[in-house]
Symmetry: C2
Subunit: 125 residues, 2 copies
């Protein structure tokens, strides 16, 4: 696969991914690099044991920070910082209810990745 969204790329091969050889123009390379940067930022955001477990728990419904704190056996400040990162990345949404703040999954991006991750790392054996 490659990371341009240029409609002029070659026809698809075995999978749903576009294919290209060595005939990319500089513009394509730039777009590819830009996309790669966005994508790697996203992957870094979810590439953390604690944050991954948070997303995982949120998939079954919204949770307060203290609930997550218990579920992860982690300190409040740490959980809060991890949530902060996920918030910045637009992956979760906070909702205040009284003293507690409940977090939920924000969009489908995390869900889509998590589904693949689940298949790869939690279903096999």
């Amino acid at each position: 696969m490659e990371l341009t969204s240029n409609p002029a790329v070659k026809a698809e091969k075995t999978m749903g991914l576009p294919v290209f050889d060595t005939d990319m123009c500089a513009e394509d390379m730039d777009r590819m690099a830009a996309n790669a940067m966005k994508a790697s930022n996203f992957l870094k955001a979810i590439g953390h044991e604690g944050r991954l477990m948070i997303l995982c728990h949120l998939a079954s419904g919204e949770k307060s920070v203290t609930e997550l704190e218990d579920l992860l056996s982690a300190r409040q400040a740490a959980v809060s910082q991890q949530l902060s990162r996920l918030r910045l990345e637009g992956l979760v949404n906070p909702r205040r209810d009284g003293k507690a703040i409940y977090y939920s999954l924000a969009d489908d991006r995390a869900k889509q990745i998590m589904e693949v991750v689940y298949d790869l790392f939690c279903r096999e054996e």
Copy 2:
């Protein structure tokens, strides 16, 4: 979603992901944490602009280190190190042919993730 592979988890909800509430036993939590660690290591490996672009280029066929060096406009040592990381993670395989070493994608894991990443970051707009 959650990261256990316990068959006793609740029925699936909207997506293909299992759901659970607060009734996980310690054993489940351990398995989940172990899976989360494996998964986050994997995500860290591909969550790097250079490595992502390498995987991306390899998706269209095996490439030598010098070819990748040119494609990424990166130094030899850097590319080699990134390949080394991908090798350790089992994502790519080297094949020696004379002086050159050709790398190719090792398994489907990378491809599966990359396909989703491509949809999320290279198709939209």
